[in-house]
């Protein structure tokens, strides 16, 4: 089971410190919400974890290894960072290319298209997809090589209420089978029922990491707790 360790992570863009000495862990077999307002450094942190952005300091590892050092990374980690695909490629062609990259069975492309409800759109060019359909295709891509860890950046963007419920069930089902999920979002209401624990960041810094049950122990909901904690961190 996958374990994520973020230790003293720093990323600066000129005078702006996007991520400021951030440390947290994600325990195996849990769904962890990576929560914070827009610009809190969530996406930058995930990109550093996945080897796409080079940190100025600190480390980000999965099962003790940097992403770039992982053997067959797609078999270990499925990630959805942005719903960007070549608009002229069909959904099936996109997934077949990814399957070849992952050395996965090409027939998995059709399996995951069915799983995310895009079987009927398999041969349509992605340029004609709605944002919600692209999010589903992103999830299909992440699930293609049957990874044990999902890292998702704002996966509910563009999904309708039915899609959000579907996503929630998918993540809970994934965790129930022993998978680990780190899901970044600023839409707290959508994830409140899904996550086991929360990592809350603000201005690139860790505000708190705690189980959701602990954050809402006094009867407040997650959203209220979030606003209280982030306000406190500023003052």
């Amino acid at each position: 089971m996958a374990h994520i360790q973020i230790q003293g992570l720093v990323k600066r863009y000129g005078p702006v410190t996007a991520v400021d000495n951030l440390s947290f862990q994600v325990q195996p077999g849990t769904v962890t919400g990576f929560l914070g307002p827009n610009g809190a450094g969530k996406t930058t942190t995930l990109r550093m974890l996945l080897g796409l952005v080079t940190p100025d300091a600190g480390s980000a590892t999965i099962n003790g290894r940097r992403y770039a050092e992982m053997a067959e990374p797609l078999h270990q980690v499925g990630a959805v960072l942005e719903a960007s695909f070549h608009p002229g490629r069909t959904a099936r062609a996109h997934l077949r290319i990814q399957a070849l990259s992952a050395e996965a069975d090409p027939s998995r492309a059709d399996d995951v298209l069915s799983l995310v409800g895009l079987a009927d759109a398999a041969d349509r060019r992605v340029g004609g997809f709605s944002l919600g359909m692209r999010q589903r295709l992103g999830l299909a891509t992440a699930l293609l090589a049957d990874p044990k860890l999902l890292i998702l950046d704002e996966p509910a963007n563009g999904l309708d209420p039915e899609g959000i419920r579907w996503l929630r069930d998918l993540l809970r089902g994934f965790a129930a089978e022993g998978g680990t999920v780190l899901v970044s979002t600023h839409m707290l209401a959508e994830v409140a029922q899904t996550i086991d624990s929360a990592v809350i960041v603000h201005h690139g810094r860790l505000v708190v990491q705690a189980p959701v049950a602990e954050l809402t122990a006094d009867g407040t909901d997650l959203e209220t707790a979030f606003f209280h904690l982030t306000r406190e961190s500023v003052s």
Partner: protein, 277 residues
Amino acid sequence: MTTIAVPTNPAVRRVPLARLTRIELLKLTSTRLPYGLLAASLLLTGLFTVIEAARAGTSGGPAPLASYAGQAAITAGGVWSLILAAVLGATVSSGEFRYRTATLTYLAVPGRGRVLAAKAAAGAVAGALFGVTGYLVTLGITLGFVAGKGDSVAIGAGTLTDWGLGHLVGAALLGAIGVAVGSLVRSQLAAMIGIFAWMVIAESLIGGLFNAARPYLPYTAATALGGVPIGTSSFGPGRGAENVAALPFAAGTALLLAIALGGLLLAARTTVRRDIG
């Protein structure tokens, strides 16, 4: 004797370069742009070859069609396949940034240098296809005009084969150079315009200013591999050149290979390392 196994860090299992190249070729063939560029290559090659063949022997046109020089000059129409091979190469690399698909590519294969190498190989394979098909079109039209006028073929079969090989090698290496340009520039439009401007305008200007430098300019060197004579055709990079010989095949190939490798190495050390944000 007892041996003790020394624990080592398990090496990262890398996707073989051949598979990475296959992935890049699959990416290419799953979109419409390469087919459009190939169609444009064949169309322009055919059009310019017909125009040159029709002008052969006229005032301001190539030498008469019955002559070796005339038949050789008409093959200059094949240079369009070389130009578009380089343009295609640029789209292989810059397309990842235009459509923001670099994220998915590097998540699948974190080794960016290996991805770049695979793209260069794919650009070379696709470029070679452009070069060969372009040459076949120009050769077919040339032979058709020669036969139509009742002339005989003045160029030996061995030379014609060499020129075909030259189109293949030249276009393949220009495809790889295009990948390097696309990686360095990252903007697809700028890379495509830049390649056109360099090949159609800049080399003519530089060659006009420094006649002796002509053979060493990459596009001119590639066309020379394909048998396009410097200075004798009314169309092409060497138009108007005097007293300058094309590089021999091996030297031209080595020059283009060095430019491709240099460009790819520079890209691998600079732009390819940048954050994907």
